[in-house]
Symmetry: C2
Subunit: 261 residues, 2 copies
Amino acid sequence: MIDSCPEEFIVLAGRLADAAGDLVRQYFRRPLAIVDKADESPVTMADREAEARMRDMITRQFPDHGLIGEEHGPDRPDAEFVWVLDPIDGTKAFISGVPVFGVLIALLHDGHPVLGVIDQPISRERWVGAAGHATTMNGAEVRTAPRGELADCVLWSTSPHMFDGDPAASTAFGRLREAVKFVHYGGECYQYGMLASGFIDIVVEDDMRAYDYCALVPVVQGAGGIITDWRGAALGLQSGGKVLAAADADLHARVLPILQD
Amino acid sequence: MIDSCPEEFIVLAGRLADAAGDLVRQYFRRPLAIVDKADESPVTMADREAEARMRDMITRQFPDHGLIGEEHGPDRPDAEFVWVLDPIDGTKAFISGVPVFGVLIALLHDGHPVLGVIDQPISRERWVGAAGHATTMNGAEVRTAPRGELADCVLWSTSPHMFDGDPAASTAFGRLREAVKFVHYGGECYQYGMLASGFIDIVVEDDMRAYDYCALVPVVQGAGGIITDWRGAALGLQSGGKVLAAADADLHARVLPILQD
């Protein structure tokens, strides 16, 4: 795995996020009356069109790179460099008009995430994480800021129903919930941005797919955080759906046994 | 109860929201390092200062009006007109840096909410509802837009843990959750704004206080929605903590028996 993400990839990721954001903004809060007349919902149209546009931009500049997205299936998934795209992470929030969804763009080198973008196109907040670089939010460096004691920590997750398919995971999450100051829900990818920016201490999720979590990895790591699966293993394309992000290594080490008990 | 809210009260409510928003923006995402040095958290300081400023503005213009807020306790709660203030509804979201909290301002006439403002000071989105007026968002009229079949409906609530104190309520909410398309969490007052704007169909909450729900009533009603307690009774200062908002009367009538079963 490369130690430092080349600048040309970071520049392209920014252009991809710009292009996807332009499309997503066109479909956000489109009146439902229009939905009823269309064959597809605005979220599906935005998702599909934004992914197609990003794929086209990548392929034109780097025809050897691989591509994995939600809509179109994998192209060259075994390439040295593979882009992993999720044009709208948080479709329930998007449908509901609540701007905490995001455009997720990741670049993997030999299977390891080396570049990640979390972009909120409505508030126009963009986190960029890249191997060998400090994570930025709208160009300014950000750092995690763990609250210290676990009992003071702020825990987020997109939904408690993420754990419904795995009773042991639900129980484990319940244990962690009892140990922290409070849990809150509905964060989508935005909550990982706020962890990188120093306002959320822990995010625990389940039932995630590669395009849900690959982009988060460089963002969290480049801000001083730790992000792994629930066994403490690095996240890659083949990880299970369980994700733990913590504001620093010490906090991560304290949370892991609570999830594994 | 007056049929139409006088314009001078609507104008004042807008000025109150402007003043509170200015303060809240100063404290939002203030670095935690500053918190540690202060005796109070940013959210507490913002809450207290914004409420004091709003109280001062109201008392100067309408010295006979009553005042109820979270921080300072009630003044003249039996007056004909009573203002009910919550400078930061959604403190957990505020603390976490996630802009779905809001400034809530309500005016009650003879105990009935006749004016409500939901203001999100970061995204600068403001819903204003007033008796005899259509609800507006940033000055433009909004309408609810129920999705029709209950199975297609989008349900929101701030947190499933709102129901933890009342097992029967938790069971009732679970029944409704099974009947709709999906439930999502973390909406705070913002989710009532999105219901008024036509993107969320149903909001069900528990453990709410008067300053959490009074402002929501005119916003939802003025957009075509129905908002009551779980027995279908109008909301006033003395209502219990249970709130049901639905995008229209038909949907409200279908949800009520599910909560009451």
